[in-house]
């Protein structure tokens, strides 16, 4: 391995050369992004030929900063988070060469947005319980079932999908992982309205959806292993930049406190200070986690940070409504709309209060996370399992 500083130097030179050859001000957006991918400057920690240069992951933030400060177009990162954060590393790890070539480039450029068809009404925390069936007919799989909590499904070109291909074996063994074309006529995407009034997510009904076997990712029956890899990527997805003090929800509430001296009470004061302290400590914990990751030492803090984040968002937004008093009784708008993204700081306190309730459910409930911490980090005994060795079809649903 070459000397790290030399590697960094060399990488900077490459980027400078690329920018010299492709002026962001004059190059067409898609052309620029495709060229960046082809130059291995998309995700430099991916292998050469697939948008990367096989470099350490820790170098990526600087790459992004350099492109950003040069005015380069972004690759639709906000909408395609699932594609970039979850689908791409899974395709890289488990895909055939053909699949990598077909899918990674338009995924990274944002030309093809991805969504995730994992959760079902009966398979939330227990993902291995998915009931969506995929039945093989020659070189095609015919898929039927219902998925929920699918964000960006209505804008997505492809999906990563877990379906049951063999109901005669225990639940973890009968799953297979697919790449599903969302334009297939059997795919019906319906908005799923939430308690905020909006529909940020979707339900996706799959009726005789035909997936070619070439879009199977990993072996038949290997779906659980592939899905687990995907979900591990989700948990790693912590921001690269240091969070500022009073970033996020705590800043909003602190501002309300400062702007409304007439609403302050002694009781709310101490509650706010406790939460401010908690938020500051959580921020520092994130900072330490980033310092560890930079040294290649991932710690257990990733799981615990999501727990803390959810609790803080919920307690802060709850306090904010009490602080607002009469104004806390009012809401912005219950109209069913389809927002592009979650906006915790730009909307009213009632929205924050309601939306934050999802923070301890989406992406792994707080209950599941506590169990994971207890078992994987603290080494406490696993939950008694009664469904491990019984064929899926015989399980009580």
């Amino acid at each position: 391995m070459s000397d790290p500083s030399t590697v960094r130097e060399e990488l900077r030179r490459r980027i400078a050369d690329f920018l010299a050859a492709h002026d962001p001000a004059t190059t067409e957006r898609s052309a620029f992004l495709r060229a960046r991918y082809d130059a291995g400057l998309a995700w430099v920690f991916f292998p050469e030929g697939h948008g990367g240069l096989g470099l350490p992951r820790a170098l990526q933030p600087e790459v992004d900063r350099l492109f950003e400060s040069a005015g380069a177009p972004d690759n639709n990162r906000e909408v395609n988070g699932i594609g970039l954060g979850m689908a791409a590393p899974t395709i890289l790890a488990f895909g055939t060469e053909e699949q990598k070539r077909r899918f990674l480039r338009p995924l990274w450029t944002g030309e093809e947005v991805w969504c995730q068809l994992f959760s079902e009404p009966g398979a939330g925390s227990d993902l291995a319980a998915v009931a969506t069936r995929a039945v093989r007919q020659g070189e095609t799989w015919v898929v039927n079932g219902q998925k929920v909590w699918t964000s960006v499904a209505h804008n997505a070109r492809f999906a990563i999908l877990v379906a049951r291909t063999n109901p005669d074996v225990p639940k973890h063994a009968g799953l297979t992982y697919f790449l599903c074309d969302m334009t297939d006529p059997g795919v019906d995407v319906r908005p799923l309205r939430q308690i905020t009034g909006e529909a940020e997510f979707n339900e996706v009904f799959l009726t005789d959806v035909r997936i070619p076997d070439t879009h199977r990712l990993g072996a038949e029956g290997e779906g659980w292993k592939v899905a687990t890899a995907t979900l591990n990527n989700e948990r790693v997805a912590i921001g690269d930049a240091a969070a500022p003090r009073e970033g996020g929800m705590v800043g909003v509430v602190a501002r309300t406190w400062r702007e409304h001296p007439e609403r302050r009470t002694a009781e709310l004061h101490d509650r706010l200070l406790r939460l401010w302290v908690d938020a500051e400590v959580a921020r520092l914990t994130g900072q330490r986690l980033r310092q560890k990751l930079a040294l290649g030492q991932p710690g257990p803090a990733g799981s615990t940070m999501k727990l803390t984040f959810a609790r803080l968002n919920q307690q802060l937004s709850g306090l904010e409504l009490e602080l607002l008093g009469e104004d806390g009784l009012r809401y912005s708008d219950w109209t069913m709309v389809r927002p592009e993204r979650v906006d915790f700081t730009g909307r009213d306190a009632g929205y924050r209060y309601l939306r934050a309730k999802g923070n301890s459910i989406e992406g792994g409930t707080s209950e599941i996370l506590r169990t994971i911490v207890a078992e994987r980090v603290l080494g406490l005994p696993a939950e008694p399992r009664v469904d491990k060795d019984i064929p899926w079809k015989e399980l009580q649903k």
Partner: protein
């Protein structure tokens, strides 16, 4: 602080069954959810049935004046059931608060309220705590009112607004036909008790009570004491529904309600909800009896029950998982009601601060402050 009866009487049990049966029939969660999208069709018929068929509008009014001659105990039972159904009806605002304002007056309006023929609302923000300053509109010598009151609960359903107004000669309450005021419905956190901004531009009101500050404060105090029972109803629905759901839901091959961490949380929640029901009942019983402990009891009940209701609703949502986050499942109706109720008629923290004065647990630095107060 005498030993009041904290159990249900047979009469109260009968009343509870009657209200619950009616709500089961006529207060479907889907219809309640529809009020969030502006379809308030459930409200009128439901309130009519409760107010006149069951005679709940006049519960607190004496029989001589056309009411049922019942007490705060019975009103508490009704509110528990209304809370359990998040019923979008003006019982608290009209039959409790507005009615209590008029109990000491000789207004004929009271009889109309008691019969359910008319419905009234006290024109103060829902967040007004008992004992706090009232927002006042001005009344001129001809009884013409000018001013704005924001976030009034029950005004949308009211024929008559009871408006505390400064007359230059103290505070009087005026009865103003709702049609005389400019009502702007507010998009509310809890649409099952939708708020209204009310503007008076020289509206003509009829004075129904002079020197009205004590009567209004008494009404707010009664409202706060009884709101606790509504909060208990909300909490009980949340607890019961969650337990029922967790006994059915399976994950990892097990009944989810069998996971010990959830069992312990539900045991704690059950403990708190049981205790909340006692606190609310004590507040209602002392209010009904005119017991000198009523003020402390109300502060205790509000301080305790409003947070329990919020926690019960929050736990219900969390323990329902994803389905609890959907518009389709009614748990959000309870969360919104619980959170709005926490702010209504004073927050828990506000009631604790009031309690401090009632039970001689003064805040820091209060001794000098009191002495200054004595001097002025």
């Amino acid at each position: 602080m005498s030993e009041v009866n904290l159990l249900s009487t047979d009469v109260e049990d009968d009343l509870r069954s009657a209200v619950r049966d009616l709500l089961t029939d006529r207060c479907d969660p889907t219809a309640v959810t529809a009020v969030y999208d502006g379809d308030r069709s459930v409200v009128g018929g439901l309130w009519g049935a409760l107010a006149t068929e069951l005679g709940l509008a006049g519960l607190l009014v004496s029989e001589e004046r056309g009411g049922a001659g019942a007490s705060a105990r019975e009103a508490a039972v009704v509110l528990e059931e209304l809370g359990r159904a998040v019923a979008p009806v003006p019982f608290l605002t009209s039959a409790v608060i507005a009615t209590t304002v008029l109990l000491g007056s000789d207004s004929e309006l009271l009889r109309a309220l008691a019969s359910g023929e008319r419905t009234a609302a006290l024109a103060v923000p829902l967040s007004t705590a008992p004992g706090s300053a009232l927002p006042l509109v001005r009344a001129d010598a001809d009884g013409r009112l000018t001013g704005t009151v924001t976030s009034v609960a029950g005004a949308l359903e009211a024929h008559v607004l009871l408006v505390p107004a400064s007359t230059g000669d103290g505070v009087s309450v005026y009865a103003v036909p709702a049609t005389e005021a400019a009502l702007t419905p507010v998009v509310s956190l809890d649409m099952t008790r939708q708020l209204t901004d009310v503007r008076f531009d020289g509206a003509t009101g009829q004075p129904v009570l002079a020197d009205a500050e004590p009567a209004v404060q008494r009404a707010l105090a009664a409202g706060a004491a009884l709101l606790a029972s509504e909060q208990v109803g909300v909490a009980q629905w949340c607890l019961d529904t969650t337990i029922t759901y967790l006994k059915e839901r399976r994950q990892f091959g097990r009944i989810v309600g069998g996971f010990q961490a959830l069992k312990h949380r539900l045991a704690d929640l059950f403990t708190d909800v049981e205790q909340a029901s006692v606190a609310a009942r004590y507040a209602a019983a002392t209010l009904a009896a005119g017991d000198p402990d009523a003020e402390i009891a109300a502060a205790v009940a509000q301080a305790y029950c409003s947070d329990v209701a919020v926690r019960a609703a929050e736990e219900a949502l969390q323990l329902h998982g994803g389905i609890g986050m959907t518009w389709e499942h009614p748990v959000h109706l309870y969360l919104k009601r619980a959170k709005a109720d926490q702010i209504a008629l004073g927050t828990a923290g506000g009631h604790r601060a009031r309690l401090a004065g009632l039970v001689d647990l003064p805040p820091p630095g209060s001794a000098p402050a009191n002495r200054q107060g004595d001097r002025s």
